[in-house]
Amino acid sequence: MTFDLASIRADFPILHQEIYGKPLVYLDNAATTQKPQIVIDTLRHYYEKDNANIHRGVHTLSERATKDYEATRDTIRSFFHAASTKVVIFARGTTDSINLVASAWGSANVQAGDEILISHMEHHSNIVPWQMLCERSGATLKVIPMNEAGELDLETYANLLSERTKLVGIVHMSNALGTINPIATMIAQAHAVGAKVLIDGAQAAAHVPVDMQALDIDFYVTSAHKMYGPTGVGVLIAKQAILEAMPPYQGGGDMILMVTFEKTQYNDLPHKFEAGTPNIAGVIGFGAAIKYIQSIGFEAIEKREKELLAYATKLAQAFTGLRQIGTAKDKACVLSFVLDGVHPHDLGTILDREGVAIRAGHHCAMPVMQFYKVPATARASFSIYNTEAEVDALFAALTKARDMFA
């Protein structure tokens, strides 16, 4: 499929506006992506025509809402090559999904003396739930180190793995650095010692294809809003046998078959892990977002995003005083950097007045900042709708910032 940048940009209404009299240049896609018209229309259609609670209504609206909600489960199964719709669990997002696993799976499978292994480049959402689990259970949290380029040290990883390792939690693509981790080999190594693996796909899922079965992934988690979908919805995809053996996470409606005051019989998968009325509109919008990604195709997406990152990286290397944070061989979409003499937060403010939206801060990855001994970085992150002209606008604004503090 050919990549038609103009028509993709036309799909995103928000891009066509001015900020302080300058065209909006949205380069904060790692924080959240913008939404195509089809996702906005799907949400609107749902609330205008189909809004009802799902699974138990016998009226037409409920049947329509249920059908579209469950159809998204199948869209996601197919997108991630999951074994069945039973293993596709809707949640509030990546953070919620990781907490589900750390709480429900962790409480049943992790004890004092066990080890949880995560990497130095994890987002706080893939650190803190495991720290909390370790505190509750007496297990130990261990960290896979990384090198200056922002690549995981796989030799040390191999040495850290042992029969004590119960779970390995790895970010598929780092939000702070852009690094794409070699999850296929890491999963195989973890399985060799009997550990389960959770892959945090919040950053990756809109940029690289994922095959749950080929990669033999135990848990994959991601968020709709970083994949052109709505906020407040995400997904946990896991292996059926693991999910069946897990106790429920939250109790409530929808996750039960029979409730008496003496005993409750839990519902089957996937409903066992979906207590309460879910974000029905969000899930249906998520489905539209995934179909949008499928309509472009990962081959075209990856090719285009590599091209744009290469263009931005070239300009970054030539920019006096700029130090890139994260130069892994395998990376995508993220240009994280510090500029001599200009604090990232000042950069954020100055660039905003030029219409350029970037993120400045620790990117919810404080250990990454500690590793590079910087308090914060400026981060430009790219998506399918960004252009070379927008990258030029970024560097023109950076020049202005540098001159202000010269």
């Binding site: 937060h345 000042d346 801060g361 308090p375």
Partner: protein, 151 residues
């Protein structure tokens, strides 16, 4: 509309590049730390207050964005040799300036050089950068053991 030049006035750039009263004060009889987790700003303020309640010496160290560095630098300059009561008056005036309505001009008589920071009110995400040092100084004067956090 405020322009960038209203926020990043030359005085602020100057204090960012060469902050006044920067470093550790030893000895000191009051000190406190402040953090702004949003920006990663870290600040340590040291004070020597004498028996007559005069701020004899004041210094700060740490790292931060230009607004937080310049604000701390200007604050120490304004308060060195002044009574603690002057801190209370200036803090109230500064806080009012940073959070006042857009239309309200800063009270230059009350604030002196500190009025150059009035541009922050146009940049809501940056107000806490400018006020961090003041909250930290308050904690130092009151001998608060817990570090100050802006969020």
């Amino acid at each position: 509309m405020f322009s960038l030049g209203d926020l990043y006035q030359q005085v602020i750039i100057d204090h960012t590049k060469s902050p006044r009263n920067f470093g550790k004060l030893d000895p000191c009889n009051h000190d406190a730390e402040g953090y702004n987790p949003l920006c990663g700003d870290q600040l340590h303020i040291y004070l020597q207050i004498n028996a007559d309640n005069i701020i004899e010496a004041i210094k700060f160290e740490g790292q931060g964005c230009s607004i937080s560095t310049a604000s701390a630098s200007l604050m120490t300059e304004a308060l060195k040799g002044k009574p603690v009561a002057e801190f209370e008056r200036l803090f109230a005036a500064f806080h009012h300036m940073a959070t006042a309505d857009m239309e309200e001009a800063p009270d230059e008589d009350a604030l002196g050089k500190l009025a150059v920071l009035s541009g922050v009110k146009e940049f809501p995400s940056r107000i806490k950068c400018a006020t961090l040092c003041w909250h930290t100084l308050k904690a130092a004067i009151e001998d608060k053991a817990e570090p100050v956090r802006t969020e």
